[in-house]
Amino acid sequence: MVAVAGCGGTRQGAAHGNSITYAFWGSPSRAKKVNAVIELFGARHPGARIRTQVADYSSYVEGLTVRAAGGGLACALGMQSTFCAQYAEAGLLRPLDDLTESGQIDVSNIPDDVLAAGRVDGVQYMIPTGTFVRILGYNADLVASSGATAPTSDMTWDNYAAFLREMQRGLPDGVRATEIEATNMFTLTSWVVGHGERMFDGDRLGFGKSLLAEWFQLWLELTSDGVTVPPSAIPKQTGSVELTPLAQGTAAIGTRDIPHLHVTEQVLAANERGTAISEVSMPSPEVSRSANVLGANGIAISADCGDVATTAAFIDFFTNNAEAALAFKSDNGIVTNVHAQDVLIGDSKTPQGVKRNVTTWRALTEARDLTTTTYPAGLPSLTTELARLYERVAFDRMSVDEAVDAFFSTAEHVLG
């Protein structure tokens, strides 16, 4: 039975009695799954009522800020490691350490590396419920038909570039070896951590300008060699996963979050442009150093939540209950609870794509081929700026040095 904190607030997100609001992002399909979890929770906790607020990702993030400004945050908030710090540092999120220590939210089945994705300055603000890891996915048919040796998980970036050039020679007209990854913040993060540097050092960038200049230069050279899609295709890479060159079969390899691999495979199969997407680890200059960078989606509690007990019970249920795991089907990242992973793999009704995602994730964790990084406030702005600046470089509107200087200048302004 849920203990009720008797301090119902007056703000919109604050709960009255056992009624709280859970705000999250996602499609109607995800909303249905969340509702199924809520029904299960309600059966276990009679009297507790969970209302939902749902929007697509960008609307959700915008709305979260506007609601925060108006003092109307929901009690349970869909959160992501990439923007958690922004809200935590503004004092809008409740620290959760006391709840995890008391066992109100059981995190014993979530690996500590994953839990760390929900910490800001050592304080737990978000309970990760789903993870995303960027790895290399490739169209196995295209790679095989090109005659190139399939990529491996121990490639350096030099090996990878050589592989791309070799593959390009055997690809059909209209198909390029890869997409332009220079614009992707997560791939850049892989590049940086693979080189033994830190992406962020507190509220500053943790690496030097030369590393970013090399990154830009690498992709300019690959594009100049005809190995990547042209710069005019960059907008296609930033849209929905289904429309990306890799999914459309016009590029053979690209980095993807693990959950996107299955979607890509389905689109390829529907268009008869390949039958399987295989995956390998991100390239790293040192084999012993993983460049697979972990991010996480999760749930946080707003600082002015009036019913922390019910909210904590809901988060605990969402994270640990086997029935909830089966109902949610790991819909927003790979479920973080290892028992829930077992339940999903063992259940015959679990979609094959979900089983595959979990299995891929398991292989990475067992090989300890993961790197955790923390993301400071202001990351979304910097992410946009990276794409914009590289576009300018790719279209000869700016030199590499100018773009690098501008990126560091923006970072100084927006981080923290």
Binding site: V66, A90, P231, S381, V414
Partner: protein, 318 residues
Amino acid sequence: MAVAIDRPPDAGTTRTSPAARRGSARHENLSGYLFLSPWLIGFVTIVAGPMAASLYFSFTHYSVLRSPKWTGVDNYLRMLTEDPRFWTSLEVTLTYLVTSVPLVQVFALFLAAILNRGVRGLTVYRAVFYLPSLIGGSVAIAILWRYLFDGDGLLNNMLATVGLSTEHSWIGSPETSLWTLVILNVWQFGAAMIIYLAGLRQIPAELYESAAMDGAGAARRFWSVTLPLLSPVIFFNVLMNVVSAFQAFNTAYIVSNGTGGPADSTLFYTLYLYQRGFLDFDMGYASALGWGLLVLVAASAAGLFALSRHLVFYGDER
């Protein structure tokens, strides 16, 4: 001399006192304000209040998540002296405006003049030409535009059939992407065309007949009769289109995935304002941009009104 005034039989008996008349006037005023109150409440809470708030925020550093800090005119100075993207967005918007607004007028007036000649099936044509104005600014059309003008889009496929094969992505290249949005705006000439058509119908036929009898050809009649008499309508359409061009947002947002790309080539002023406010959460700066836009629109409207004194002919003028 006494003037006999016919009164209703009971008029003398219902004469009201000044106090009663004042009470009645107050009652009428109150009723008036009550009827007006929905608009007044809406205006204060939805328009005037937020405008006043944004004016205040424009003088602050305000990240939405923290309280605003007063910074004086820093945002405005930064906008004018330190922010190249502000100037880029202004350049993109003005290029879009000075190209698409005249083109819309030319197309709209040309087709209105043709339709005004009494073609058969006028209502069908009018509806067909007007349709893009209804759907042109929609998300669906912006997405369609991407498929039309992409490297493997319909346009290139059509060019290939006539031997002009190209892989150039009209929408993905900074040299041509803005022009695809200009075309999209011009394609929505229907609303202006309907107004021109109504204006053309108001021009008396005898003026054309007189001009023809005086030996004026079609071109001369157009320059000396149609244009002067239509100038108030042209002024109205230009003014509306200029304001609308300054506010253009949807198409660039959808076509560029909200980035204003490629390489800032479709970075409309409003899109940049949105990015600063809702992506960077720099709401103080975004507010300053908003007031900058208001000044620009007001200055443009004032300029057009000043020009109209010399170029617009109203029938009652001497």
